[in-house]
């Protein structure tokens, strides 16, 4: 029985987006797509324990969901209109033809510029990532009901304004892709450092899906530097995943990771992308710079071998594009390796990141290195209180308890 529920969980991860996307294409209605996908998964729980697992679970689910959707459309009064709408509502009149991927169409719909940025992310996590509304609400630190309303409103706008279900026309893609990349990066990060303390610390279903979708976007626009940059960034981050968690489920920081456990293949692919971007001679954007930083890290034999001068220089470059306190925090972490914790602490103190666990964790570490144990302990406590991820918390608790005088 445990095995079966594991299979069901896995199938849900792997097939959710595909079932939703297929239904969205056939019925042109995100509500029907989502409700019927959910009903199909509910049927799984009844049927599979009795009938066994079908040979092609995805196809089985799509068939069940499709039947249920047809029943529902038939039950509704405006049947003919619905059928007509189903055929035309979201269909882009000039399909791209290059890539016919339902999930890519779904993501361009969820990431439409007519929707607010936070709504795009939430909707993509729901429709493409298969996250529940409570999970999304936690990731955004808002009430479940608030998030539910946002998603409902977004779906209503898609319907009323007729946001097309499809990849936009080639001329519109450059303007649309920035938002899609931002959403894909957020999904990747939610998978890489899950914000829900009750769930696994790493959700490879989300990181895998983000990488897969970014590859599709790259096939759509192979010459775009930022698409290549984001893919490289994801690959170089993902390459370190196996080394990032200890056996006891604790976060392992970059300096302590077993670099032999890094995925050389992903690193090689990421490096090749970064080198190709450098060779292009074009001014890099945010993702390309972040990828370059990760290329430096994955190039080093160990933390001391890391070219910190280059890392700091890259953060300077990033800071010119994006002078946010978050970039300054990350730059300061590199500065600590180059100029020592005293200099880094001066840069970190005063950053307006009081509500962010990594700010306090960074301060705690710098204070520890400066042997200011009491202040360090207080900073660890703040960080632990704010960290949503269980692995991060476990790491911080251990570091705090190792402080001198504990």
């Amino acid at each position: 029985m445990t095995d079966l529920s594991e299979v069901i969980t896995r199938v849900h991860r792997e097939e959710w987006a595909r079932v939703v996307a297929t239904l969205a294409r056939r019925f042109g209605d995100l509500d029907i797509a989502e409700d019927m996908a959910a009903e199909a998964f509910a049927t799984v729980v009844e049927r599979w324990p009795v009938d066994g697992i079908p040979p092609r679970p995805g196809a089985w689910l799509t068939t069940i969901a499709h039947r249920k959707a047809i029943d529902r459309v038939r039950r509704e009064a405006r049947r003919e209109e619905k059928h007509k709408e189903a055929l035309m509502l979201f269909d882009n009149p000039e399909p791209l033809g290059v890539i016919d991927d339902d999930r890519l169409r779904l993501i361009f719909t969820c990431c439409h510029p007519a929707l607010a940025m936070e709504v795009r992310v939430a909707l993509t996590l729901r429709m493409v990532g298969g996250l529940t509304v409570p999970e999304i609400a936690r990731a955004f630190l808002v009430q479940e009901a608030t998030m539910g309303r946002r998603i409902t409103r977004a779906k209503a706008k898609i319907k009323a304004a007729r946001i097309p279900y499809g990849v936009p026309l080639r001329e519109d893609i450059p303007a649309r892709v920035t938002g899609v990349l931002a959403v894909l990066y957020l999904i990747f990060n939610e998978g890489y450092l899950a914000s829900d303390p009750e769930k696994e610390a790493v959700r490879s279903d989300l990181t895998d899906e983000a990488i897969r979708l970014t590859r599709l976007v790259r096939a759509l626009m192979p010459a775009d530097g930022e698409v290549a940059g984001l893919l490289a960034l994801m690959l170089l981050t993902e390459a370190r995943r196996a080394a990032r968690m200890s056996a006891s489920g604790e976060l392992v920081t970059l300096g302590e990771q077993d670099r032999g456990a890094w995925d050389r293949e992903l690193i090689a692919e990421g490096h090749a992308l970064v080198r190709a971007r450098l060779a292009s001679g074009e001014a890099p954007g945010r993702y390309q710079i972040l990828a370059a930083i990760n290329a430096v890290h994955t190039d080093a034999r160990d933390i001391h071998d890391t070219d910190w001068v280059q890392v700091v220089a890259l953060y300077d470059q990033l800071g010119r594009l994006d002078p946010s306190p978050l970039v300054r925090l990350n730059r300061a972490i590199a500065v600590a390796e180059l100029d020592g914790p005293q200099v880094a602490l001066a840069e970190v103190d005063g950053l307006p990141l009081e509500a962010y666990h990594a700010f306090h964790a960074t301060r705690a570490d710098l204070l520890r290195r400066l042997r200011r144990s009491e202040e360090s302990r207080a900073a660890y406590d703040r960080a632990i209180g704010l960290a949503g991820n269980a692995a991060v918390r476990a790491y911080l608790v251990r570091r705090r308890d190792q402080l001198a005088g504990s």
Binding site: F90, N92, H112, A114, A160, A161, R162, I163, P164, D172
Partner: protein, 110 residues
């Protein structure tokens, strides 16, 4: 096909220059030629408005707009388009031709 309202946001009325009016004419002709045209027009100033409340027997007439605001709707287009992406492109052209910001809104269930 769906219908959309493109409202022109302005802080003055009848303020279009000659060049702007000419550009709007070109845009209108294009809308007709491509089958998007339904209706368009400019609106007189908000201070020419009268708010009418006929809900309780004898109607009450009040001079002025129902909303005092710095910006208001100076004119509008009603267009037809297969989906939002087409409507957005038309709204962008409309904004360019009249040299004003516009708001795009779908009609209910049309």
């Amino acid at each position: 096909m769906a219908q959309y309202l493109i409202s022109v946001l302005d802080d003055r009325t009848n303020s279009g220059t000659k060049d702007e009016m000419a550009a709007i004419d070109v845009f209108n002709d294009q809308l007709r030629a491509d089958g998007h045209w339904i209706f368009a027009g400019g609106l007189a100033a908000p201070n020419t408005a009268t708010v009418v409340d006929g809900r309780n027997g004898e109607a009450v007439f009040v001079d002025g707009p129902y909303l005092e605001s710095k910006e208001y709707i100076g004119g509008f287009w009603i267009i037809e388009a297969p989906h939002l992406d087409v409507a957005l492109r038309l709204a962008a052209q409309g904004s360019k031709s009249c040299n004003r910001r516009v708001e795009l809104r779908p009609f209910l269930g049309a």
